[in-house]
Symmetry: C3
Subunit: 297 residues, 3 copies
C-alpha cells in the first residue's frame, strides 16, 4: 500500500483513506521550524511570533486521512496554541499537494476493536471541540480535495478560502453507506442552512469550489497559488478586532452546538463503536476495501 493505487483517482483514494504514509513523501517545503509536534510530525505547526499567526499543516501523505495518531496530534497542537498567549490566529492547511484532508481513516473503522473505535472517536471529538471552540481566529486554506472529515475541519474554521479548479468539498458519508454524526450535521447547518444541508447530507454531495462558494460552504475561491496570500490578507481584517470581544461573540454563536456534543461525548463514542461494529457495516466496508485492492492488483 506504499504507493498511490494505480487506476484510481487521488480523490477516490482520498474518499477511502486507504493509502498509508510512505517513505517517499512528496512534501511541500515548510519555511519555519516545527514548533509543537512531538512524535511523528504528522501535524506540522509553524508559529510566527511576530504576527501571532500559527500555520498548522496536516502531513500524512498521500491523502491526510485522519487516524488516531493524527487526530491526537491535532488535538494537542490546538490545545497548545490555545494556551500560547502570543498566538492570535491559526491557518489550517495541508503539507500534501492536492489534498486538504480525505477525512477519517477508513482503516480505523474496519476490523478494529470496540476499544480502539472508542479511543479513535474520542480523539476526533477532542480535536473538533478544540477547533470549533478555539479562541483563535481560524482560517482554512483549502488547497486540495476536502471530503468528509476534511470538510468538517474546514467548516469548523472561521473562514474558508478554497483553490479553484478540480478540487471538491463536501460531507459524502452516505455514499459509503455511513452517516455523518449529529455534530457534523450541526456544523453544516450553521454554515449553509437547513435546506442545503438536507440535500448535501442525503446525497453525500461533493461540490466544486465554485458550487461550494454559491451555497456558502466556502467564503472565497481563488487560483491555487493565491490561496495562502488571500488567507493572509483576510487575516488582517480579523486581527483588527480586539480579541476579547471577538472571542465572546464567537463563543456565544457556537456554544449551543459545542455543548450538544460535550453533553453526550461518551454516548456518541459508544454509538459510533456499536454502529461500526455491526456485521452489515463491516461487510459493506470490507467489500469496498476488497474491491479496491482487487482493482489495484
Amino acid at each position: 500500500m506504499a504507493a498511490p493505487m494505480k487506476g484510481m483517482s487521488l480523490l477516490r483514494q482520498a474518499y477511502l483513506g486507504l493509502v498509508r504514509p510512505t517513505g517517499a513523501q512528496v512534501c511541500r517545503q515548510v519555511p519555519h521550524r516545527c514548533y509543537s509536534t512531538p512524535g511523528a510530525g504528522q501535524v506540522q505547526v509553524d508559529m510566527n511570533s511576530e504576527t501571532g499567526v500559527a500555520t498548522v499543516r496536516l502531513n500524512r501523505p498521500p491523502v491526510n486521512s485522519l487516524n488516531l495518531d493524527v487526530l491526537t496530534e491535532l488535538g494537542i497542537a490546538l490545545e497548545k496554541l490555545d494556551a500560547d498567549r502570543t498566538c492570535r490566529a491559526m491557518v489550517l492547511a495541508s503539507a500534501v499537494p492536492g489534498i486538504f484532508s480525505a477525512g477519517l481513516d477508513i482503516l480505523e473503522m474496519y476490523q478494529s476493536t470496540p476499544e480502539r473505535c472508542v479511543a479513535f472517536w474520542r480523539a476526533l471529538q477532542d480535536a473538533w471541540l478544540g477547533l470549533y471552540g478555539s479562541r483563535l481566529v481560524t482560517m482554512a486554506a483549502i488547497e486540495g480535495h476536502s471530503p468528509a472529515g476534511g470538510c468538517l475541519l474546514a467548516m469548523s474554521c472561521d473562514y474558508r478560502v478554497m483553490a479553484d479548479g478540480k478540487f471538491q468539498i463536501g460531507l459524502n458519508e452516505t455514499r459509503l453507506g455511513i452517516v455523518a454524526p449529529f455534530w457534523f450535521e450541526d456544523v453544516m447547518l450553521n454554515t449553509i442552512g437547513h435546506r442545503e444541508t438536507e440535500k448535501a447530507l442525503q446525497l453525500g454531495a461533493m461540490y466544486s469550489a465554485q458550487q461550494a462558494l454559491s451555497i456558502g460552504l466556502v467564503d472565497k475561491v481563488v487560483p491555487l497559488a493565491e490561496v495562502m496570500p488571500t488567507v493572509q490578507g483576510e487575516l488582517k481584517n480579523w486581527l483588527q478586532i480586539p480579541d476579547a470581544a471577538r472571542v465572546i461573540t464567537k463563543t456565544s454563536m457556537r456554544k449551543q452546538v459545542l455543548d450538544r456534543l460535550r453533553s453526550q461525548k461518551e454516548k456518541d463514542a459508544q454509538f459510533f463503536a456499536d454502529f461500526i461494529g455491526r456485521d452489515s457495516v463491516q461487510k459493506s466496508l470490507g467489500a469496498y476495501i476488497a474491491s479496491l485492492q482487487k482493482r489495484k492488483s
Copy 2:
C-alpha cells in the same frame, strides 16, 4: 357546483377549494394499473416494481382540494408504500391539469361540526407525518398551482421540480384571514429560512416558479412538459445512495419538526376545531363563500 365557476380564475377557485368533483373528470392517462387505492380513487398510486418508484397522483378535480376523504386516502397510500420493501421512492403529482393541489378544502371548515373538524385535522396530520417522515425518496412534480396545503405537500418532499409559467406556489393563509399552523411554519423554515418565511407567511405570498426558485422554495424550474422527465433524472442521483444511510440522515434532519407535532397532535387538532368554530371565522368564511356564489350566479 359541477363546472368551474364562470368569471373566476382557476387559481382563485383553487384558493377556495370550493368546486366539487364532477362526473366529467379530465384526467391524464395513467399508464399503469392503480395499485393501492380502494374507494373513490382520488389518490392514484402507480407502483413501478422495476424501478422501485411509485407515482402518487392527486385526482380530485377540479382543483385537488384536500378534504377528509382525500387526506385519509393519501395517508393510507403513504403507509402502504412505506411498508412495501420494493418501493424506494415516490413522486407526488397531480392527475388534474393546471393544478398541483389547492390545499385544504374550505368546505371542511365551514358549518362543520367540531367532531368532523377534529377528524379532518387528524387526517391532515397523519398524511403529513407520513409524507415528511417518509423513508422513501420523495419528489414533488409541481405541474400546476400549489397554494396553501398544496405548498405544504410540495415542501414536505425531498426535492421539488416546478413548471415554469403562470403557476404559483406559497402559503397564502393570511389572505383568507386564517393562519398556517405551527408545523406548516416549521416546514417552511426548514426550506427557505427564517427571514423569507416571516415575509412569506405574514404577506400570504404566492410566488411564480422563478421567484420560488430564487428563494429556494423549489429546486428546479423547467417547462411543463419537462417536469416529469426532470424528476426522473433527478431520482437517479438520489437512488444511487444506499437507503439505510440516507434514511438515518433524513430522519436526523427532520426529527425535531416531526416530534414537535407528534407531541401535541390532540392539542393541535382541538385548537384548529376551536379556532374554526369561532363566530368571527365562520362569518368571514361564510361571507367569502357567499360572495363567490353570488358572483357565479
Copy 3:
C-alpha cells in the same frame, strides 16, 4: 460639543454617539402635528388617522444616539401606538439628515453608576420588546447611517428600505471592544442566518446598502428620495392582509426570541452593568473618548 467634530466623519461620530444635541437642530419638516411625545420631543410621532399609519422619527441631532431619555420616549410611543386601535402600521425613520441612528449613546456607558446603567438597559429592553413584538406592521425607512443599536432597530421591523449610496449598516460592536448582547444576535440570526451573522458579528462588519441587500440585511435599496415613497408603496401590500391573521403569524415567528429576553431581563441588565463597570472596559471607552477629544481640539 455643540457642533460636529472637525476632522471626523459623521459616521465615525455616529459610531461613538459622542455628540450631544444642540440648539441649532437641522430638522426635516414634519407635515403633521406631533401626537404623542411629551417632554423633549426627541421621538416625533406623526399619526395619520386616515391611513392608520404612524411615522415615528428619531430626533436627537446630530446622530440620534440612544440615551435613557430617547429610549424611554420610544418605548412609550410604541406602547401608545399599540394601544391605539386606529393604528395599523408604523414607519420608523429619522428626523436628522444622514443618520438613521448611531445606536446606544456611549456616554451612558462611560463613568456612569450601576443604577443608571441598569435603568438605561431596561429602557433599551422595553423599547426593543415593544418594537420586535409590535402588533403593527413596522417598516424601517433607513435614510442614513445605521450602526449598532441603529441596525438593531431596523432589523426589528418587518421590512427595511435603505437609501443607496454612502450609508452603512451593521452591528459593529466588536470594533469598539464591546459585544452585542444575545438578543441583538438572535434578531440578526432571524434576519440573515447563522453563517452571515457569525461573520458580521465577529468582524463588527458595516455594510453598504447594496451589500446589505445581497445578504438580506435590508429588503430594498433605492435612491434617498425614493425611500419614503417606496415604504408607502410596500405598506399597501402589508395592509391588504387582515390584521388578526397577520399578527398571530408574526407572534408565532418571533415569540421564541422575545421570550428568551423576557425570561431574563434582570439578569441581562445586571450583566450589562457589570460588564460596563469593569476597569478594562471603562479604560478602553475612556481612551477612545479621550483620543477623539484630543483630535477635536
